[in-house]
């Protein structure tokens, strides 16, 4: 069986943004979710690549909650440090925890700020060749 290529879709929601991610593994799912969030966060503002790297660890009760927890951690960092991670090296990922080395862009002003990853409709399911996750972001 062919493994799923990492991809994401940003889907309309009545008032928020729905993110659908597909990837071959939990590691790649988290990395792809991080890249999708960066696209939303950077939007018009672009940014300046900075050498800063950061190790991020998250844990949760299940794989879907881990996806939300991961995105919420990235949202926290982008708001408090005006730094949007765009590249991810997942050094460890299970269904309930992950350790990631991230590097990213420094911003003067974060545009298109996402406020939170919600638990509404949150899921990570197995699909042929990988995983599919879905999360609604409060924007």
């Amino acid at each position: 069986m062919n493994l799923v290529q990492s991809s994401h879709e940003i889907i309309d929601h009545a008032s928020e943004v729905r993110l659908r991610i597909r990837a071959a593994s939990m590691s790649e799912l988290l990395a792809e979710a991080g890249r999708a969030l960066a696209k939303l966060q950077l939007r018009e503002s672009g940014g300046t690549p900075v050498p800063k790297r950061r190790d991020i660890e998250v844990s949760a009760s299940d794989s879907a909650a881990l996806l939300a927890e991961w995105l919420n951690e990235l949202i926290f960092l982008s708001e408090t440090e005006a730094w949007v991670p765009v590249q991810f090296e997942v050094t460890r990922a299970t269904e309930t925890s992950a350790k990631v080395r991230a590097s990213g862009m420094s911003l003067d002003r974060v545009s298109g700020l996402v406020k939170a990853a919600t638990l509404h409709g949150l899921r990570v399911d197995g699909i042929p060749g990988g995983l599919e996750g879905e999360v609604i972001l409060d924007v």
């Binding site: 926290f76 708001e79 298109g112 406020k115 638990l119 509404h120 409709g121």
Partner: protein, 481 residues
């Protein structure tokens, strides 16, 4: 009485031309019926998204009582719909962070000036420009108001009372702020360090999304005596502030949704939507969230107060003493409050819904006891906003609640595909509205066409007896978050 079927397949009982009901028998896990306030046109919009199903999900919360209500501006959210009201019994019911939302105490404050539009017109453009320079918008920080840790804790614990001590509020301002801008149950210690990190430099900022500061003019008076009681008159210049608790509130919600999601099994609670995560109000996690939520609400009131002070400075520079701005009222529309209804203490969740207490309620400010509390329903950017007055009858109709705005009719993506930011800016300027917005994309997302017709929404509120129309406000300057 007739019945209808909607997309979500629940039976709908038509109680009256403006009230529809989803009976409690519609789904096995419902504890109470759902009531929706809408005319036929709004109902067709409401029935086209998932807001009714979300109301039905809310009707399954343990301890929920009476009805779950959907206001005429209701639209699909996550967990609770936006424009939803649900009350749970304080003694054995739950509290749900999702029932308040991420922007805790997002709300609206109206400031009345002593100026008529005609006498201020020549200075309007520089005033709007000065407001946009003085009040940080977008997801930015406030470089002029970075709080030390102990000051932030005081804001969280005491809200606007602390702002008075800091010289950032007049004592009389508190008289016309819901709960005097200071909820007694607030506990700064229940707010995480992450939330405090997000909030400590955000006091006095608008934020992004649909938040704004508008300069408006009273262009129609419906109830002259009540308008006079509120200090409003035809042609008067006003300032409307719409914002909330910023990143601090968002993080409080994130923290406690996660915590409650993890503890629900302990309390044997099972729900159809994970975002409705909750715990008994009287339980340790319920009490911790209540303390943190009240603290975030205090932060939001202090935020609108700090913005008020910035606006006052701008008006003083431009108009001297004539530019004095008085707080007409300040009201939350994302909050859970402990209130007595029908002799029982209830935890009333209002998400995208505004408290609308009448003259007889002791929480209505003293100076408005003859007419009821002011209620603000801002339209979409560039359209009219309304001031209404609370009715005593609304206690039985909606736990004393009404809607909070026009309500979205179009997703953000649809809105951007329909019109560019430049087109929206031109349309507003063609109407004589001065616009300041740093992002064209965000301007397009908040285009008037992306929202329901506020006139229709307000009309339903008025005709249903939830609140009474007092004045209409027309924008002349918009500072978009």
């Amino acid at each position: 009485m007739t019945t209808e079927t909607i997309r979500s397949s629940y039976p709908v009982r038509v109680v009256s031309p403006l009230v529809r009901e989803i009976p409690v028998t519609s789904r096995a896990d419902m504890q109470v019926p759902v009531r929706i306030y809408a005319d036929d046109e709004l109902w067709s919009q409401i029935a086209s998204d998932r807001s009714v199903e979300q109301c039905v999900n809310v009707a399954t919360l343990p301890g929920v009582t009476g009805h779950v209500y959907a206001m005429p501006d209701v639209h699909e959210g996550y967990g609770f719909p936006v424009g939803g009201v649900a009350a749970t019994r304080a003694k054995d019911g739950v509290i749900s962070p999702g029932g308040v939302g991420y922007d805790i105490n997002c709300g609206v404050r109206l400031l009345g000036s002593g100026l008529q539009l005609d006498e201020a017109r020549a200075k309007l453009e520089p005033v709007v420009h000065d407001l946009s320079r003085s009040i940080p918008s977008g997801p930015g920080r406030n470089p002029r108001l970075d709080l030390r840790a102990e000051e932030l804790d005081q804001v969280l614990d005491r809200g606007c009372r602390f702002m008075v001590e800091c010289g950032l509020a007049a004592a009389e301002d508190l008289e016309t702020i819901e709960a005097e801008g200071s909820l007694p149950g607030a506990e700064a210690r229940q707010v995480s360090s992450k939330a405090k990190q997000r909030g400590h430099h955000q006091l006095g900022t608008i934020g992004s999304g649909n938040h704004f500061v508008e300069v408006q003019v009273v262009d129609q008076v419906f109830e002259p005596d009540t308008a006079e009681a509120y200090g409003l008159r035809q042609g008067q210049l006003t300032v409307l502030i719409h914002t909330g608790s910023r990143g601090l509130g968002h993080q409080v919600c994130t923290d406690y949704v996660r915590q409650m999601d993890q503890v629900m099994a302990l309390y044997r609670i099972s729900l159809p939507d994970r975002q409705l995560a909750c715990a008994p109000l009287e339980s340790p996690p319920g009490q911790a969230y209540f303390g943190a939520m009240c603290a975030a609400a205090n932060f939001a009131w202090a935020n609108r107060q700090a913005i008020t002070e910035s606006a006052r400075a701008v008006f003083r520079r431009a108009f001297g003493d004539a530019g004095r701005l008085r707080v007409v009222y300040d009201v939350a529309h994302n909050i859970a409050k402990l209130e007595e209804h029908g002799g029982a203490l209830l935890c009333v969740h209002r998400k995208g819904a505004t408290r609308a207490f009448g003259p007889a309620n002791r929480e209505t400010p003293e100076r408005y006891r003859a007419v009821g509390q002011p209620v603000f329903i801002p339209g979409s950017m560039g359209t009219a906003s309304y001031v209404l007055a609370g009715n005593d009858a609304a206690l039985d109709l909606s736990f004393g609640s009404t809607c909070h705005g026009a309500g979205r009719a179009m997703s953000r993506g649809e809105a951007k595909r329909a019109r560019t930011g430049a087109e929206v800016r031109r349309e507003l300027e063609d109407k004589g509205i001065i616009v300041r917005c740093p992002s064209s994309g965000e301007l397009a997302e908040e285009a008037p066409s992306a929202y329901k017709d506020v006139e229709r929404v307000v009309d339903v509120v008025h005709r249903a007896g939830l609140a009474r129309k007092v004045v209409r406000l027309r924008p002349v300057g918009v500072i978009k978050g």
